[in-house]
C-alpha cells in the first residue's frame, strides 16, 4: 500500500518550501500532484479561468512544487484533475477539462507518475449521453496514457441539486465497475481503474462496504477525507463528530478494504483542516495526520499482521479477546490468553485458558503476544519490563467483520 498526502491547504504553490519541508518532517514520502492547487477551487467566488488559463502550461505551473519536493526526497506517484463545480459552468468547461486532461497525462510522463485521477465530464450532459461523451473523452487520453504508462483512475462524483449534494456519476459501485470494464475492453488492456473518494460516499450516505466490494480489484486508490455528510469538506479523518460520535462510516470502509485486500494508493486529503491551521501548528497537525494515515494502513492490514506469526498468545480476557475469538479464533487460534486479573487465572474464556502474565516466560521466541486490551501502552510497558524476547503487537477490535449484540460487563 502506498501512503500519499494531498498538499492542498498545506503547500503554497508560489513558495512551496516550508509546506513541503513540514510534510517531509512529518514522515510523508509521497504526494499527490493535485491540479486543483493551481485553480484555487476552494476559494469563495472561484470561477474557472477559461479565458486566460493555458492548459499547456500545466507542468510549468507545478514545476516549483515538483522540484522543491524532489529536493527534499518527496515523490509524486499520483496526479489528480480538479473537480468542476456545476455553479462555475462557463462556456466550454468540458472542452477545457478535456484539454487539461490531455496535458495532465503528458505531465504524468514528465513527472514519472503512473496514476492519473479523473472525474467524469457531466456539466450540461444529459444522463443518457454520459457514457458516449465520457467514452470519447477517456479514449482520447488512453493513447497518451499507454505511451506514458499511466493508469487512468475514474473517481466518483456527487451532483449539486439546488444546493443539496446527491449521488452523481459513478456513485453506484456496480455501474462504476461496468464503466471501467467497458473502457478497458475498448482499449484492450487494463488502462483504467477506479479511485474512491470517501468524502463523496459520505455525502451520499452510501454503504461503503458494498461500494468497495462491487469495485473489487478495480479499486486502485482511495481518498480519505472526512466531512459531516452534508458539506463537501476535506477534514482530517475522525474529526467530523457530533455528540461524541463519528459522522463517517469508517467501519464499513475498513471492512470493505480488508475484504478486497486493498493494496493501492491510500491518499489523505485534509485540505480544509490544514487551511485553517495556524502556520505555527501545521507541523504538529501534519505529524498527527501521518499517524492517522498509518493507522488506516495498519487497520486495513490487520489480518496480514496476524498471518506473519507462526503462533500467538493474547493478553487480555475481556471484550477484545472475545471479539478476536469471534472473528479470528478459527483461522489464527491463540495458544492461550493471559490477564492481570488474578480471579481469572486458570479459568476458561471463549475456549481459551486464562493464565497469569508470568506464563509468557515459557513461550517459544517466535510466538507473538497480541495485546487485546485498550490499555495498550501500559501493558506493553509491563511486558517490556519482563524482558520478554517475543514480538509484541497491538490487536484492535474497532473494525471487526462482525460484532456481538452485547458487551461483557465485569465488576471491579
Amino acid at each position: 500500500m502506498e501512503l500519499v498526502l494531498s498538499p492542498c491547504g498545506i503547500v503554497d504553490k508560489k513558495r512551496p518550501g516550508q509546506g513541503l519541508m513540514d510534510i517531509g518532517k512529518a514522515g510523508f514520502e509521497k504526494l499527490v500532484c493535485d491540479l486543483s492547487m493551481l485553480f484555487e477551487t476552494r476559494k469563495p467566488q472561484h470561477t474557472w479561468p477559461l479565458e486566460y488559463w493555458k492548459p499547456e502550461r500545466l507542468y510549468e505551473c507545478f514545476r516549483p512544487v515538483l522540484e522543491k519536493g524532489k529536493e527534499i526526497g518527496l515523490s509524486f506517484p499520483v496526479v489528480e484533475m480538479p473537480v468542476p463545480d456545476t455553479d462555475t459552468g462557463g462556456a466550454d468547461l468540458n472542452g477545457f477539462l478535456m484539454t487539461l486532461a490531455q496535458e495532465g497525462v503528458k505531465a504524468c510522463g514528465k513527472i514519472g507518475c503512473h496514476n492519473f485521477i479523473v472525474s467524469p465530464l457531466f456539466v450540461g450532459i444529459p444522463r443518457d449521453d454520459l457514457w458516449n461523451e465520457n467514452r470519447e473523452f477517456f479514449l482520447r487520453i488512453a493513447g497518451e496514457a499507454r505511451e506514458k504508462d499511466v493508469t487512468v483512475l475514474l473517481k466518483n462524483q456527487c451532483r449539486n441539486f439546488n444546493g443539496h449534494l446527491v449521488r452523481g456519476v459513478w456513485c453506484d459501485g456496480q455501474e462504476a465497475s461496468a464503466w471501467v470494464d467497458r473502457l478497458n475492453e475498448e482499449v484492450g488492456e487494463e488502462r483504467f481503474g477506479f479511485c474512491m473518494d470517501v468524502g463523496i460516499c459520505n455525502l451520499c450516505g452510501q454503504n461503503m462496504y458494498d461500494f468497495i466490494t462491487a469495485l473489487g480489484h478495480r479499486l486502485r486508490a482511495v481518498v480519505l477525507r472526512d466531512n459531516d455528510g452534508s458539506h463537501d469538506n476535506a477534514l482530517l479523518p475522525f474529526t467530523a463528530v457530533n455528540g461524541g460520535a463519528l459522522q463517517t462510516d469508517w467501519l464499513n470502509l475498513i471492512r470493505g478494504l480488508r475484504d478486497i485486500c486493498f493494496d493501492g494508493h491510500l491518499i489523505l486529503n485534509i485540505t480544509d483542516t490544514a487551511s485553517v491551521a495556524s502556520p505555527i501548528l501545521k507541523p504538529g497537525l501534519l505529524q498527527y495526520a501521518k499517524s492517522v494515515l498509518d493507522y488506516f494502513c495498519w487497520q486495513i492490514r490487520m489480518e496480514s499482521m496476524l498471518k506473519k506469526y507462526p503462533s500467538r498468545v493474547l493478553f487480555g480476557a475481556g471484550n477484545m479477546c472475545r471479539n478476536y475469538m469471534k472473528c479470528y479464533g478459527d483461522e489464527y487460534p491463540p495458544l492461550y490468553t493471559c490477564d492481570n486479573d488474578e480471579r481469572l487465572w486458570n479459568t476458561e474464556f471463549c475456549g481459551l485458558t486464562v493464565k497469569a502474565p508470568e506464563a509468557l516466560r515459557q513461550l517459544e521466541p517466535d510466538t507473538v503476544i497480541l495485546i487485546c486490551n485498550t490499555f495498550y501502552r501500559e501493558i506493553e510497558q509491563q511486558l517490556r519490563k519482563m524482558d520478554l524476547q517475543n514480538p509484541i503487537e497491538y490487536f484492535n477490535d474497532e473494525y471487526m467483520s462482525s460484532f456481538y449484540f452485547d458487551r461483557l460487563e465485569r465488576e471491579g
Binding site: T86, G89, F122, V123, G124, I125, P126, R127, L130, C158, R159, F161, N162, G163, H164, L165, V166, R167, G168, C171, Q174, N202, L203, C204, G205, Q206, N207, Y209, D210, D228, G229, S230, A240, V241, N242, G243, G244, A245, L246, Q247, T248, D249, L251, N252, R255, S401, S402, F403, Y404, F405, D406
Partner: protein, 328 residues
C-alpha cells in the same frame, strides 16, 4: 387513476374515527395509510419496553378496529396501506421481546390488515449491518421474517412491502436496508417467484431517499411495477423531518432541494397507478391547531398536483429540455 392518501396518525382518533375519515374525504383524500405502528411505539421498543396492545387475540383486535372499518367505508375512504409496528427485531433486545414482535405482532398485523381490507402492509427490514458485517447477512434475517409471514400473506391476498430505510452515524443519516434498487428488484422477483404470487412489493419513501441522495427517477424506473406503496414527505437532506413537499431549499434562488421533478418523472415512466400517500403526520404537529386543517388541505393539494403532473403524458416531449438540464 391515482388516489391520494395520508397517514391516519394525528388525524383519525380511536374515540370517534368517523369524524376524521369524513374530514379527510372532504379535503380530497380518498385513501389512508393506516398507522398501526402508533399502537406499539418504536421509541418504547428500543428501550426494551412494550405495552399490552398486541396481547389481544386477533379477534379482539378486529373488534377493536371495527369502528375504523365502518367509518372508512361510510365516508368513502379506502385503507390502501398499513404500517406494521417496527422494529420487528431489537438488536440486543431480550429473546422474549423479539419473539413477541416476530410471533405475535407481525402475524396479528397481517390479520388486522386483512380485516380492514387493506392490500399492502409495509414493514421495516432488519437493521443489523454493524453486528452481522454486511447488508447481505442482514437481508438473510429479513428474508426469514418474510418467509415466516408469506404463506399467511398469500392466503389473505396481502402484499408485504419492504421500504428504503436509513441508518446513522453521529446524527449523519446514511443508507440502510432497501436502499439498493438492484438488490430490491432481484429479491422481490425471487421471492414472488418462490411463492408463485405477489407477496412482496416495495414502499418507496421519498424522505429517506432524499436523506441519502438517491436518484429518485432511476430508482423508481428500476422498480417498475414492484412499486406498490409510497411514503411521500420532505426534509432538509439531513434529518428525517416528514414535512410537506416543496418546503425545503438550500439556495438563494429558493429552488426546492428535493428532486420532486425526478420523482414525478420516475412515477410517470412506470405508469404508477396506485396511491400518492403522504407520510406527513409530524408536519401537522408543527402547525398550531387552528392551521392544521389548512395544512392537511395543502397536503391534499400537493397530491393533486403530483397526480396531474404524473398523468400529463403529453408533457414527456416538453420535458426533454428539463431532462437535458438534469446535470447542469
Amino acid at each position: 387513476m391515482l388516489s391520494i392518501g395520508v397517514q391516519t396518525k394525528n388525524v383519525i382518533e380511536d374515540s370517534c374515527p368517523e369524524e376524521g375519515y369524513v374530514r379527510l374525504r372532504g379535503m380530497g383524500f380518498n385513501c389512508v395509510d393506516f398507522s398501526l405502528n402508533c399502537y406499539l411505539k418504536n421509541t418504547d421498543l428500543y428501550r426494551q419496553k412494550r405495552n399490552s396492545f398486541f396481547d389481544r387475540s386477533a379477534e379482539e383486535l378486529k373488534e377493536y378496529f371495527a369502528p375504523h372499518k365502518k367509518a372508512a367505508e361510510a365516508s368513502g375512504v379506502r385503507i390502501h396501506q398499513m404500517h406494521m409496528p417496527y422494529p420487528v427485531y431489537v438488536p440486543g433486545g431480550t429473546r422474549t421481546l423479539n419473539d413477541y414482535l416476530w410471533k405475535e405482532v407481525a402475524p396479528k398485523s397481517l390479520q388486522i390488515c386483512s380485516f380492514l381490507e387493506c392490500r399492502y402492509l409495509v414493514f421495516h427490514g432488519f437493521k443489523m449491518v454493524r453486528y452481522l458485517g454486511s447488508e447481505e447477512k442482514e437481508w438473510e434475517q429479513t428474508e426469514k421474517l418474510i418467509d415466516f409471514l408469506a404463506p399467511t400473506a398469500k392466503e389473505l391476498g396481502i402484499v408485504l412491502c419492504m421500504e428504503n430505510l436509513y441508518d446513522g452515524f453521529g446524527g449523519h443519516l446514511t443508507e440502510g436496508p432497501g436502499c439498493s434498487v438492484r438488490k430490491a428488484v432481484e429479491r422481490i422477483d425471487r421471492i414472488n417467484e418462490k411463492y408463485r404470487t405477489e407477496v412482496l412489493g416495495f414502499c418507496f419513501d421519498t424522505g429517506h431517499a432524499n436523506l441519502v441522495g438517491i436518484d429518485m427517477e432511476s430508482f423508481l424506473t428500476a422498480l417498475g411495477s414492484r412499486l406498490k406503496v409510497l411514503h411521500i414527505h420532505d426534509n432538509d437532506g439531513i434529518s428525517d423531518l416528514h414535512q410537506i413537499p416543496f418546503v425545503f431549499t438550500k439556495s438563494r434562488e429558493n429552488a426546492p432541494s428535493t428532486d420532486w421533478d425526478g420523482f414525478i418523472r420516475g412515477l410517470r415512466k412506470i405508469n404508477f397507478d396506485q396511491t400518492l400517500s403522504f407520510e406527513t403526520a409530524p408536519a401537522l404537529d408543527a402547525f398550531p391547531k387552528a392551521l392544521r386543517q389548512d395544512a392537511l388541505e395543502l397536503i391534499a393539494k400537493c397530491g393533486k398536483y403530483f397526480a396531474d403532473e404524473i398523468c400529463r403524458t403529453e408533457t414527456v416531449s416538453v420535458n426533454n429540455d428539463e431532462k437535458s438540464e438534469f446535470f447542469s
